[in-house]
Symmetry: C2
Subunit: 353 residues, 2 copies
DNA sequence: GTGAAAGCGCTAACAG
DNA sequence: CTGTTAGCGCTTTCAC
């Protein structure tokens, strides 16, 4: 029937003996067009199985109704939960998300941002890779006037927004809790300082130790990566030095899982021999044994806020003032690092609540 | 300097006193253009911070170098792992992925496919929602001539490809293993029959039971959903009826986790009181206690194959014959459902290997 | 209310 | 090797 496999505005227009423009307007519910015409157009479009061509639409309207997202990893509870909430928020706001995954590679990250720019996304939400050294791509984004919001793993770049959780405060809470439980030999499997979450969580740890006058033993503070291997290796290092703390705070939950594996391997028991708590929840924390207490990050909030801020920026491109949203965390207490554990396994002090 | 915030081919062309076309070709490395010109063009493009406009490029070239993906869930180990491999494969092949998430809602699924169609993706990879009743959207996809590949959760639609794991065979292996371990009171927390993975896994269960002459007790076969609640409720139902099997095979790992929670709640122990194995691995299966044996789905293969098949279809749009790839599974044995467990907890028979 | 004209930025086809 | 001519399908003025 038609030469092209795709129905165009023109096809509908000819069918109805009206102009392309009328159809275009009708389809978008433009007030210019009368009720009847609009309905008629919509009906025919439906019949013909019309699918708008966003490429054409976007080219001519000069915006894409699309937000680009770059995250370092997807098969990770935190990120997949955040992404899910980003998708939800975008869907709710009638925006499309184009998701890319950098796999912690700066090179990929750059390429993906380039692609997203080329796709003319209206805004960008980015959680940077563990090592992001070259900031020029972000300058490029800014030069092109694309609203940029960092999420969780942020960069301090002028005129960009950020949505983070209160990493420092959350870490503080965790350590404070451990101290109040009576622990004094406290270790921290930390991330890099180069990335905000690593630094902030370490600072929170330090804050609490100082405030409560507990000495920081450098042997028990090990900087590493954010994955399971880091936890495994970190624990093993202390174990092999025959110098284990009573309590370990890990920068992420995979690091904690690595510790679980290592502890089990050497035949020790959590929390008897070493107690533990981590930053970040996951769907498994409550199923592992003993169930793992953590500093919970409200992932839904994070994604939602990131989209809202970005949309705000897009919609008020000239007047927008960058926002820096910090979402409070909360302690999620389970079997590890609990007063109950303290009693059961007869450690120092407290009866707990 | 320029009126538009974006540099265009024309800007580069004028700078160099050549035509737009020359620039376009040079940038794409077209053999028409001489080495020197090409280099010069690329240099200037770089200097000017040129970012191609894919909307324009795609509109005029009539393809988008893009594959649309629709999956039901993202915060789930299986899907996030598959997605990661899809992204990898696409990246490797210089294709972009546009990912959408249906959240198990058929309505959303339809809307997303519409959007993807409107974005003029070159191909589509879809894993359908738990209940997909209306097939008209898939007809629309076919009518528009867009290559369609189903992944894992498939639909039997002519001229579409599929990539699945051997659900039936995998389930068979699991049950066979349990039987060989000496179990005879075997239950199955199954999914819906309406979706292929639910049906196939059930069939595998049935196959094995029949082949080994083990009777299927309907009280121990409970059909439900694929999430944790289903596992929790399924177990509780049997428990409350005072009729527990010795061994439970669950249709997914979240269902197994639900069982873990329920078992713990009623004060029983896995695998002493009830042994368990599930279909599908996750990053946590090895960290929960006891660690959970499972039928492993090679997720990397799945994503890779799906992309390859789709690309194949895109590139040979006229001659392509739909492919149906089934990827074998393997048993991943850990603490549950193992001969070791059998000895430790003194159940029937075997000494195991 | 409706439509004609112009153009978004790019590529394909052909001519030189 | 390079450039000219014509659109891709849509939206945006701005007339009528």
């Amino acid at each position: 029937m038609e030469k092209s496999i795709h129905i165009t505005l023109d096809d509908i227009a000819k069918r109805l003996n009206v102009s392309k423009v009328t159809v275009s307007k009708a389809l978008r519910g433009h007030p210019d067009i009368s009720k009847e015409t609009t309905q008629l157009v919509k009906k025919v479009a439906e019949e013909l199985g019309y699918t708008p061509n966003y490429m054409a639409r976007n080219l001519s309207s000069r915006h894409s109704n699309t937000i680009g997202v770059v995250i370092p990893k997807i098969a990770h509870f935190f990120f997949s939960a955040v992404i899910e909430s980003i998708y939800d928020a975008a869907f709710y706001n009638n925006y499309e998300i184009i998701l890319t995954v950098s796999q912690e590679s700066e090179d990929r990250q750059t390429k993906h941002i380039e692609s997203l720019l080329a796709m003319r996304v209206d805004g960008l939400i980015i959680s940077i890779t563990q090592q992001t050294r070259d900031l020029s791509i972000f300058e490029k984004v800014k030069r092109q006037g694309i609203p940029l919001t960092f999420i969780d793993r942020i960069l301090d770049i002028p005129n960009t927004s950020s949505v983070t959780v209160d990493d420092r405060g959350g870490a503080f809470q965790a350590i404070e809790h451990a101290i109040k439980l009576g622990y004094t030999k406290i270790g921290h499997l930390a991330g890099f300082h180069e990335i905000n979450i690593g630094l902030k969580r370490y600072q929170g740890f330090e804050d609490a130790m100082k405030q409560y006058g507990v000495e920081i033993n450098p042997d028990w503070v090990i900087h590493g990566s954010f994955g399971e291997e880091a936890g495994y290796r970190g624990f093993m290092q202390m174990y092999n030095n025959n110098n284990l703390p009573e309590f370990l705070f890990t920068v992420t939950y995979p690091v904690a899982l690595g510790v679980y594996a290592a502890v089990q391997e050497v035949g020790l028991k959590i929390p008897d021999d070493i107690d533990i708590m981590c930053f970040g929840n996951s769907d498994v924390n409550r199923f592992i044994s003993p169930s793992l207490s953590c500093v919970n990050q409200p992932t839904e909030m994070l994604g939602k806020k990131a989209v809202e801020v970005t949309l705000d920026h897009i919609r008020n491109i000239d007047s927008f003032v960058p926002k820096h949203i910090e979402i409070p965390t909360e302690l999620l207490l389970r079997e590890t690092c609990s007063a109950k554990g303290m009693i059961l396994f007869s450690k120092a002090g407290l009866t707990g609540s």
